[in-house]
Symmetry: C2
Subunit: 209 residues, 2 copies
């Protein structure tokens, strides 16, 4: 049976991804949060190795060249990526690694690591999504519109994820998310080895070995 | 969000399918056991509508002709099948319907009802499977061999199921099975409608409708 599950989390802005991830991390011992690597400068209060791994452009490009990133992208003038070492170290320890990332990155990861679990966090309805975006009360109409436009694009790709987590009542969504991650270890697609061993084990019994 | 889940259960002889199903039925309110229809005569103590729906060959063939069976098969001189009405009535009530059936029937159901959840119950290893078959102490070598041969055939098709339930510790297997069934409601493959509504809802917001 496989150890930790690489869990990729995407979702609409305002759906509560961050809160859900924090809830799992604080409530259960079996999670680790992937820490991104970036070339941007640390902001006040940000801690190297906790908020990000802060590196130079040279170091980042060396990591790319050496295949040491699970995925990466460049936004404006900075690189952002996911260091593979940390992820695999945690998975080996049996931790489910939570990795928050947008859809294109998520699909990249699934292609490279078919055992990754892709979860999409959504509000119960479009109406609630709008309420949550407005509810913050801190954004201009322009920003809200941009987020809705982005949500419309994302909605077209939700079917590429394995599960949706409908974040209506936080407690229920967190429990459901935890159960889905935990039990994804039992998906036949993640147990080719177990199934193969079972089959050859039965064959051996029949041959009287 | 969809209501009950049609859950098809197969597994190795001796893996504990019956015990697991009984455990779910006794512990949670959200399950119903599918009752098969058959043309064979009731055995002493069997109750019509509980153990089986006992019908005549004419009645059974009428049910086939009218498409009233989810699946059916003929063994020796008798028909066995799953009446659709009962299944859909229970699903509508929000019950997860448990249906124990061998692999060919399971695949038939998945083809007809893509939302069905296919679970395969297994022992933790081939060795334990043999122990459980022998442990009953009531079977001849010939019978045990036949069961192992059948298990070898079944093992080749396990990958067609969505999840394996490894029945090592009954309590854990039952909980895992319950969680898998409950959360399968959140699989994107079972939520095409929700995703579509979400997308058109966001599009409407953007159009200012």
């Amino acid at each position: 049976m496989q150890k930790g599950i690489l869990t990729v989390i995407s979702g609409f802005s305002g759906a509560g991804k961050g809160t859900l991830m924090k809830t799992l991390l604080s409530r259960y011992d079996d999670y680790a949060l992937s820490v991104s690597m970036t070339t941007r400068a640390p902001r006040p209060g940000e801690i190297d190795g906790k908020d990000y791994f802060f590196v130079t452009v040279e170091e980042f490009e060396k990591s790319i060249a050496e295949g040491k990133l699970v995925e990466y992208a460049r936004y404006v003038d900075n690189y952002y990526g996911t260091p593979a070492d940390y992820v695999f170290e945690q998975l080996k320890k049996g931790k489910n690694v939570l990795l928050e990332i947008e859809i294109q990155g998520a699909l990249q990861i699934k292609e490279k690591f078919p055992d990754a679990l892709l979860l999409f966090i959504t509000t119960p309805s479009a109406k609630v999504l709008e309420e949550r975006l407005r509810g913050r009360g801190t954004e201009t109409e322009e920003v809200i519109r941009k987020r809705l436009e982005r949500a419309a694009t994302e909605a077209a790709d939700v079917g590429k994820y394995e599960y949706i987590i409908v974040n209506d009542v936080l407690e229920e969504a967190a429990e459901s998310m935890h159960n889905i991650i935990t039990n994804s270890k039992f998906a036949t697609s993640r147990n080719a080895r177990f199934i193969k061993d079972m089959k050859s084990g039965i064959d051996s019994l029949l041959k009287g070995e």
